[in-house]
């Protein structure tokens, strides 16, 4: 943290696990070009290896617990607090090092500018939390209690210090938290409601002048302090992005991993076999992290104990007789689940198929049946919804994992939007075939929405790239047929974006109102299927299905 210096060979901290020395190769002189090599000479066990390299280890696992934790907010951008300008302004993490017996000062609490013990200490809350202006709207959950703890530590070690806490709300809702808050006040800590506008330094004494509007008294106050601790917020670890695309996880707008269900499945990722523990899912303290870790491991344990997992019967089936051996399906499958060779019929490896339906929507020979999401089923839904007064309806397709779930999120959050929309669910937006969209227009839909996951979030690796291709093709087709292409819209809505789902529905409704009866009638005619040599199964008229 820059509070003291460290050698090139060190143990990270006294209680580190594993408790072994590591070499920092950036600082080590190494044995080349001028040999240093002192540590290797003195190590009797020959444990020093200057050339040690990272290696890739492969493990086959049945369950993954993601516990990537947090990064601490760097307050440099909030220049009004002078973190980079004034030595005696420190962060709460630096406070931990200064008060720690194992820290650079052996636990003697001194201020950086003169190594004197500060007597008047101010804590500023919500630095990098609950601040939409800098794009950090959420509460970090832990900083209030951490500051309260710090004031108690100081009161205990140095009863003569005067602590002041500048805050907007004190959030102390956990078990025995309120009690700690009261003890802190009894120990003489002053709680001043209001966040300082800025901090200045007296260049001679290096004392800090804090200006704050006390919102309880309504007065502007100036406080002279020896030291200021910025109670910095926390954020999900930066490493999560890579992991998110590897495991197809989605994130909230704040960057936390999205759970399967906010109340009923709080530790399950939408990807089966993946679970969350700790801060990566939402801001939480140690106790809550431990609780969630227990829950995640018990969920993972249940899966491992079962020893097998049932794959939902939504996989692809290829009819070898109808297959024209074109191989298109094998090209679009994100999982490589389709085997095909030139001149041979394609075949699906069921255990590898995730059921996205990209292949089903691609095959124009009707050779692919998506179990439980068949063309017949989906077309029947389109027709049923648009059977009456289609001109009044906003018709849409939504993928199970993101957009449909975003719609659920709008519901859970009670975000309102016009009731004209009708959405049907497919597993992936890539399942939506050209035929389905055209059928909607033929049935008189004024507008059609295809919606799926954002690129990086696609639950089926990158199947939604097929969606884009298909929609672009459709736009061209519509244009050629004299149908306004914008009547077909493509939107990416994540599972967390209830707001966006509602907004898209409002926009679609506005768009619908611009579509005239003539336009609808024209599209019905212009998009009629042209008779082809190879009739498609989808084009046969509504056949009454039988039960067997």
């Amino acid at each position: 943290m820059g509070l003291s210096s460290r050698r090139a060979v060190y143990i990270p901290f006294p209680q580190a696990v594993p408790c072994s020395y590591i070499l920092n190769m950036d600082d080590c002189l190494g044995i080349n070009p001028i040999a240093c090599g002192k540590c290797a000479e003195v190590c009797e066990k020959d444990a020093i290896n200057y050339d040690d390299q990272g290696e890739v280890v492969t493990r086959d696992v049945g369950a993954i617990i993601v516990a990537t934790g947090l990064d601490v907010y760097d307050p440099t951008e909030m220049d009004e607090y002078g973190y980079t300008r004034f030595e005696n302004v420190i962060t709460s993490m630096e406070f931990e090092r200064l008060i720690c017996a194992g820290g650079p000062t052996d636990g003697h609490f001194v201020r950086p500018s003169d190594q004197e013990r500060p007597k008047r200490i101010g804590f500023i809350q919500c630095v990098g939390s609950r601040n939409p202006k800098i794009g950090r709207p959420y509460c970090s959950n832990i900083c209030c209690m951490n500051t309260i703890k710090d004031t108690l530590l100081l009161a205990d070690h140095y009863p003569d210090t005067q602590n002041s806490v500048f805050y907007q709300d004190i959030r102390a809702s956990g078990k025995s938290f309120e009690d700690m808050f009261q003890r802190s006040k009894e120990a003489g800590t002053r709680y001043i409601r209001g966040l300082p506008g800025d901090i200045d330094e007296d260049p001679k004494t290096r004392h800090l002048i804090v200006t704050v509007e006390n919102t309880t008294s309504g007065k502007l106050e100036r406080h002279e302090l020896d030291m200021v601790v910025l109670s910095v917020g926390v954020q999900p670890s930066a490493d999560r992005d890579k992991l998110a695309s590897m495991l197809t996880l989605s994130k909230t707008s704040d960057g936390f991993f999205m759970e399967s269900h906010p109340k009923l499945k709080p530790v399950d990722a939408p990807t089966r076999g993946v679970y969350f523990a700790g801060f990566c899912e939402s801001p939480k303290d140690i106790k809550d992290s431990v609780c969630q870790a227990g829950a995640a491991s018990s969920r993972a344990g249940a899966l491992l104990n079962a020893g097998e997992i049932k794959i939902e019967a939504i996989t692809s089936v290829i009819d070898g007789e109808a297959c024209s051996k074109c191989g298109l399906c094998a090209k679009v499958c994100p999982y490589g689940a389709i085997t095909w060779q030139k001149g041979e019929v394609a075949a699906v490896v069921e255990a590898a198929c995730a059921g996205c339906g990209a292949c089903g929507a691609t095959c124009t020979f009707g050779a692919i049946t998506m179990r439980h999401f068949t063309d017949d089923q989906l077309i029947a839904q389109v027709r049923a919804i648009l059977a009456e007064k289609p001109e009044d309806k906003v018709f849409g397709f939504a993928c199970n994992w993101c957009s449909y779930a975003g719609g659920d999120m709008a519901g859970i959050s009670r975000i309102q939007y016009p009731s004209t929309n009708r959405v049907i669910r497919t597993m992936c937006s890539a399942r939506v075939s050209e035929e389905m969209v055209l059928e909607a227009f033929r049935c008189g839909a004024p507008v059609v929405l295809v919606s799926g996951c954002h690129y990086a979030d696609c639950h089926y690796i990158d199947a939604n790239r097929q969606t884009v291709k298909r929609v672009q093709k459709l736009w061209n087709k519509l244009e050629k047929a004299g149908v306004r292409p914008e009547r077909l819209q493509l939107e990416w809505i994540s599972a967390a974006e209830g707001q966006k789902f509602a907004k898209v529905m409002r926009q679609m409704e506005e768009l619908r109102q611009t579509v005239t009866a003539d336009e609808i009638a024209h599209a019905r005619e212009a998009l009629k299927p042209k008779p082809k040599k190879k009739p498609k199964t989808k084009e046969k008229e509504e056949t009454a299905p039988t039960a067997s």
Binding site: I65, G273, H372, Q416, A547
Partner: protein, 202 residues
């Protein structure tokens, strides 16, 4: 399990859920139920207070037997929540779980259109019609079982990761814990004392 080979006609039952007032408070569940009865191949439509509760599930099971249903449509909440519940319910009643379809009248309708009774009711009818239309094409499906490797990976060696790894190991599973730093312990190990007990962090 009764297979469909023995039946040659579609017999669909529709179950419209009030969800207390969650659905019934924003749209006309009675009208939706009546409408469902008029849809092709629907032989019974029942309105329940809470379809997922035992009495509601029993009504489904009874109706399957009484009306010899071979397709079930539950018009309630999002399939992302209760599809497993109702699949199990129809399985208990002797039907293949894939012969059940849901219409989302809550998250996608009543909760987002309060104060638009007419509009929400009309939408609910369409959602039910869509589910029934789909149900007419549903087929029995068998799920493939694949083995799960009995080993776990924990990514991150902070307090949450350590705790999760230990718990899994205690359950007898082999666990690999990966940590990018030289020591496990994460942020917590950098703290001096921790609230609320004021004890040291390690």
């Amino acid at each position: 399990m009764a297979t469909l080979d023995t039946v040659d006609e579609l017999r669909i039952g529709v179950f419209v859920c009030d969800c207390g007032l969650n659905i019934a408070g924003a749209l006309d569940c009675g009208a939706v139920t009546e409408y469902a009865e008029t849809l092709p191949d629907v032989v019974c439509a029942v309105r329940n207070k809470y379809t997922c509760a035992d009495p509601g599930q029993n009504e489904i099971k009874d109706a399957v037997r009484e009306h010899k249903l071979n397709r079930v449509v539950v018009a309630s909440c999002t399939p992302r929540q209760h599809e497993p519940t109702f699949r199990q319910c129809v399985l208990d009643a002797g039907l293949n779980p894939y012969l059940m379809e849901m219409a989302n009248l809550r998250e996608h309708c009543s909760w987002v259109h309060p104060g638009d009774w007419e509009g929400a009711t009309a939408k609910a009818k369409d959602l039910v019609a869509s589910a029934v239309a789909r149900a007419r094409f549903l087929q029995e499906q068998e799920e493939l079982a694949v083995p799960v490797t009995r080993r776990a990976l924990v990514i991150g060696g902070g307090i949450a990761g350590i705790e999760a790894a230990l718990e899994l190991a205690d359950q007898g599973h082999e666990v690999t814990l990966v940590e990018k730093q030289a020591s496990i312990g994460g942020i917590m190990a950098q703290l001096d004392k921790t609230y609320p007990t004021m004890d040291c962090s390690i």
